[in-house]
């Protein structure tokens, strides 16, 4: 059977739900893991790997390393209307793109366990009507089924579902391959396809901030880090450390 996986390597800023590329043009380790996982599925099962991200147009170059690693195509969804998009808007736009790409497997890299990224895959699954397998650390695709080892608070467990499906990885789950020089040259010659909300048939829809169902009312610096409490280790400093962890609810 032929699988046509469409991984999405998304590193989402926890606050805006948007890809944060301010720090440079490279993919994060999480992104690379997602691409690598997709490539392995393709190498096993055949098909095509498409890298998809919702980014400002200027950040489209960020996807080029994924092309060098071996992704077949790179697609960005971009548009001023997407500024300030929340979970509902982001999942709607991405779902439209995934439908357009007719993906059998959507892979997301998770950059944060607590932020919007942790909600996106299930929102996307819901939009697409697909089962969601989250927090995966090992992935196998065979016989039209997706199996994964999941790692959650309760431990490490096996899980499986049928394709098509949405798969969310838990951090950097595999070592990404290095491209060869020829791969890089080939990647530099490819174009990154650009989709817009309009081209996805979402023109006129409530997008960006206007379509968002949450809002930020106020933001202020949290109380600054006060002067440090310093203790000399007289053989009992560890007790203070543990008490401190308890006081701050960190254990």
């Amino acid at each position: 059977m032929c699988v046509k996986p469409v991984p999405m390597a998304l590193a989402l800023d926890a606050d805006s739900g948007r890809l944060d590329r301010s720090g440079g043009s490279l993919l994060t380790g999480v992104d690379e893991s997602a691409v690598e996982s997709a490539l392995r599925v393709r190498d096993e099962c055949g098909g095509e790997v498409v890298v998809l991200a919702m980014v400002p147009e200027a950040a489209a170059e960020a996807l080029r390393p994924a092309l060098a690693m071996g992704a077949d195509r790179a697609v960005v969804v971009t548009g001023a209307a997407l500024e300030g998009a929340d979970l509902l808007v982001t999942s709607e736009v991405l779902a439209a793109a995934v439908r357009r790409l007719e993906a059998d497997l959507v892979i997301l890299g998770a950059s944060s366990g607590d932020g919007a990224g942790a909600l996106l895959w299930s929102a996307l699954g819901e939009r697409l009507g697909l089962p969601v397998l989250s927090r995966a650390v090992e992935v196998t695709v065979a016989g039209g089924r997706l199996s994964a080892t999941r790692q959650t608070e309760t431990g490490v467990h096996a899980a499986e579902t049928s394709l098509p499906a949405v798969l969310a990885l838990s951090g950097e789950v595999c070592l990404p391959r290095y491209p060869t020089f020829r791969d890089v040259i080939a990647a530099k010659k490819k174009t990154v396809e650009v989709l817009t909300p309009e081209s996805l048939g979402l023109a006129g829809a409530d997008l960006g901030t206007s379509g968002s169902r949450t809002r930020v009312l106020a933001a202020a610096p949290a109380p600054a880090r006060g002067p440090a409490e310093l203790v000399e280790d007289d053989g009992h400093a560890h007790e203070r450390v543990v008490d401190f962890l308890v006081e701050r609810r960190l254990v």
């Binding site: 380790g29 979970l87 509902l88 203790v231 560890h238 962890l245």
Partner: protein, 322 residues
């Protein structure tokens, strides 16, 4: 106007964790009627659990038995309850499962989700969530447009507060819904070891070591502490340069930028190249023999001492207390 809430809990080993009771207490403080969705397994002490929930503000407990630990059936149950009589607030404590449920539920109900909350208030008749963002450096007030408001609270962020009202809750059974689409099958036997390669980017707790480790062998001390705390080991550049630990674990300008809730810096002097990678961490604890080390200027608790002595004692004490 009367405000209705549903709090979704997940009992563990026959008890509702304190953090989830905290979420319930917070909901009860700002809502007039609070229901709890309580999934139980055969043999769970339902009456006892319901009593506990009532003491923390639950007016009604909706008990569902034999629900698989996957998100789809939970989404279906909550959506069905909401369709019967709409909720103004659906609240969870954060977990892998509740995040999966909330994300899908948001789409199904067309509702907004605010996540990682550590407080909930009523301000002039509106619900306001309190969230610490950017590694707790910024305090953000968030609100919802329309309803219901879906809220995910930070783990163990809220105190469980006993409710003055009753201890005789209404216990209402709920049916497990029939599957409507492809299902995820879970093997729920007890799990094995951590298999994530680095996990730095997503870690809540980072136990980091620097040149002060003195030798590669001492990294084991960090690994042990990290495993007790449920954290990940990070290292400074000199450690990677010496070949003591993989680059994937390097924190700093030429490594990763991390924003964990707890950053434990052991034998790290705190050069600027390292600081840019961790300065936005929540709580910082530093252990260093040099009282002049710059790291002591940006920590919350500093221990002047030898990490090879202090770290194993912390690990041992944590083990003892758990």
């Amino acid at each position: 106007m009367s405000r209705r809430a549903l709090v979704v809990v997940e009992p563990r080993s026959g008890r509702v964790p304190a953090g989830q009771l905290g979420v319930l207490s917070a909901a009860a403080r700002v809502c007039d009627a609070v229901e709890v969705l309580l999934p139980v397994a055969d043999g769970d002490p339902v009456d006892e659990l319901a009593g506990e929930l009532a003491r923390h503000g639950a007016g009604a407990v909706r008990v569902v038995t034999g629900l698989p630990a996957t998100s789809a059936p939970r989404v279906a149950v909550v959506a069905a309850l909401h369709a019967e009589e709409p909720y103004d607030l659906v609240a969870f404590e954060n977990s892998s499962l509740s995040a999966d449920v909330a994300g899908a539920l948001a789409v199904r109900l067309g509702a907004g989700v605010c996540w990682d909350l550590s407080g909930l208030d009523d301000v002039d008749g509106e619900l306001v969530g309190r969230r610490l963002a950017l590694a707790d450096s910024t305090s953000v007030d968030v609100g919802w447009v329309g309803g219901p408001a879906i809220a995910i609270f930070r783990t163990a962020a809220l105190d469980a507060v006993q409710h003055p009202a009753g201890d005789a809750p209404r216990v209402v059974p709920v049916q497990v819904p029939a599957a409507t689409g492809p299902e995820v099958r879970l093997d729920e036997s007890p799990g094995g070891a951590d298999v994530v390669r680095s996990g730095l980017d997503t870690a809540d707790i980072v136990v980091a070591g620097g040149r002060g480790l003195g030798s590669q062998d001492n990294i084991a001390l960090l690994e042990e502490l990290a495993s007790v705390l449920g954290g990940v080991v990070g290292v400074s550049m000199p450690v990677v340069d010496r070949g003591w630990y993989p680059y994937a674990h390097q924190v700093g300008q030429t490594g990763r930028t991390v924003r964990p809730r707890l950053y434990l810096a052991c034998g790290i002097s705190g050069a600027v190249q390292h600081r840019v990678g961790m300065s936005r961490s929540g709580t910082v604890i530093a252990i260093n023999t040099d009282p002049q080390a710059p790291i002591f200027d940006l920590c919350d608790l500093g221990v002047v001492g030898d990490l090879t002595e202090v770290v194993p004692r912390i690990t041992a004490l944590l083990r003892e207390r758990s």
